[in-house]
Subunit: 354 residues, 2 copies
């Protein structure tokens, strides 16, 4: 090691899911939306003015924040925006998790939480999900430095009842509690309604899934205005202008079309429920996912084997080589045609194995 | 203070320069480029495909990184990209400045350095510029936790000779040295040629000034590949997908047009040199700025007074109410017409005062 390397913050870097780009592939591995963003996005692209790009964007991101305020019936000072919900969550870890005590999150959960804890040197303790992959709320009653969990959880898709979340909040009023709702629009019950009663509650959502804008990197958080101010203070001390001009204009356009949003999420939900039945018939088991993906395991064939066999057919799903979940596949809900191709593959493959 | 607030990272937030948006205003306050981005940017906007926005962008930002590699004759693994040079610099502070010893930077400099040091709890020590606002290189010989300075410096515009920078590097081989070259394309001599000889040197640049893309938030850094890997490891542990799809496509298009880049930066340099002569004739003094702004003071009239008088006429410049520089104005180089309006105002105002 060279002398200059001794002050380097070394980390085990997060490895993002692979982003294959092949003709004819079926991409069900990173929980993207199979439908394009709202038609208004095309208009928004056309409206982008190259001459405005020489100027700094509005640091308050007002165009986007005010549209979010309208959509969710909130005040603008209850909303924070960032470069995807990963940026929002990273800012949250940096802002709120500064206790000597460990933060708590589930053992099976979004694989970025321990990465953020490591990079910011935050102590953490994982609380095991029960055998049905449900959060055991009592595990979160002990003293801690903060709580974070996704609802629905990833990669399980399991949604927690709002009463459980409120129970966790009641037992954790002296730390910040973050509910990561990346997948909430596909069937869970948002904790948004609790932010007026719990000033230590932050609810994080994203444009990457239900708004079909993963490529734009837009995430946001709701909370009481003091919490949002703390978050903005740190954000302004990190990068004053995080949201570029196209993300403000395009994000706003995607949000404005409520009918399209309802239509596409309902299509995804309908596809998911149909696929659940078909998969059950093929011998797969899984929790009752409320997200835009299923977390499946087969009674006879190993997940890893299926993962590799699918890949050969250019069908990409996600496999995690981690304790407790190494016999599962996370499968994004695509279009009906894509899911039919997946089901046809399974039918054929399992028949050959029988 | 509520119990949950005790673990909050509280900071004195950075206050970005005001972004007025008035009809007929002359905006010379945030060092934006007065010319639009390269004509290819219009084509790039038209090429944006809403259907691609549902997918995550390439986490390696290869479209942009490979174009930067071509432009600067570097390998791709010598280049890091981020959401403006502020994001790049924030990542650098987080990655490289983890010593118990203070980092060193000038007392008069980019006003974000002490903000990043505060937010990441990094000790720092400011080294005073001399009476001509030049860096005293000997001040950087003592043991420290890292060195950062802009070249040309902001808000003074003064460029440091490359031999001085190399001297600082020779005396600081056991820490990371960052040269922040946001304004380098307007006349300074880049330290890029030193990265092969000094593996602890990081050179940071931006699309916000010479590429007319402040609204797109694109910054980048050059360094030896191990340094870049450390930076990417932390970045991937913070947010895997920082650069959105439009920024990749539009950034690449802006970079591709070398002729336009040369033409506009030469226009700005020519305007700057003309304005220097005119301002000198009006009794202003200033260092020999190599940036796209001038840092001026008047022998008879207080900077604050001029700042307020200009504002009434919707001419916006930057005033810093800080020790040593509270009688200066930072004036961005705009178009010739904008600068003529500024000069006409000064001529008129100073005549009335005489």
């Amino acid at each position: 090691m060279k002398a200059w390397e001794k002050n380097v913050r070394t980390v085990v870097p997060y490895v993002p899911g692979e982003q294959p780009n092949q003709i004819g592939m079926i991409k069900l591995n990173t929980n993207e939306n199979p439908y394009p963003p709202a038609p208004g996005v095309q208009e928004a692209i056309k409206s982008l003015d190259d001459k405005k790009m020489r100027l700094y964007p509005d640091p308050t991101a007002d165009l986007l924040v005010s549209e979010l305020a309208d959509f969710y019936h909130l005040d603008k000072d209850q909303i924070f925006v960032g470069v995807g919900s990963d940026d929002v969550l990273a800012m949250c870890f940096l802002t709120f998790f500064n206790s000597e005590r460990p933060i708590f999150f589930p053992d099976i959960t979004y694989s970025f939480y321990d990465v953020w804890a490591d990079v910011f040197r935050i102590p953490y303790e994982c609380q095991p999900l029960d055998e049905n992959f449900r959060i055991v709320k009592e595990d979160y009653y002990r003293a801690n430095g903060g709580v974070i969990f996704p609802n629905p959880n990833a990669p399980t898709g399991i949604a927690q009842d709002l009463s459980d979340i409120e129970d966790i909040l009641q037992h954790n009023q002296d730390v910040v509690v973050i509910v990561d709702e990346a997948y909430i629009d596909f069937g869970g019950h948002s904790a948004l309604e609790l932010i007026d009663r719990y000033e230590n509650l932050l609810v994080v959502q994203t444009f990457s899934k239900s708004r079909s804008l993963a490529g734009m990197r837009i995430g946001y958080a709701f909370g009481n205005k003091q919490l949002i101010k703390y978050l903005n203070d740190v954000k302004y001390s990190f990068n004053s202008y995080t949201m570029n001009y196209p993300s403000l204009v395009i994000g706003r356009a995607a949000l404005a079309d409520r009918a399209y949003f309802e239509e596409t999420r309902n299509k995804i939900i309908a596809t998911r429920e149909r696929v659940k039945k078909e998969l059950a018939g093929l011998g797969f088991t899984f929790g009752d996912s409320m997200a835009n993906f299923l977390f499946i395991t087969h009674e006879k064939v190993a997940a890893r084997e299926l993962f590799e066999a699918l890949k050969i057919k250019k069908i990409y799903v996600r496999y995690f080589n981690k304790p407790r979940i190494d016999n599962y596949l996370r499968v994004t809900i695509g279009t009906d045609e894509e899911m039919d191709a997946l089901l046809a593959f399974f039918r054929d493959y399992l028949k050959k194995k029988a």
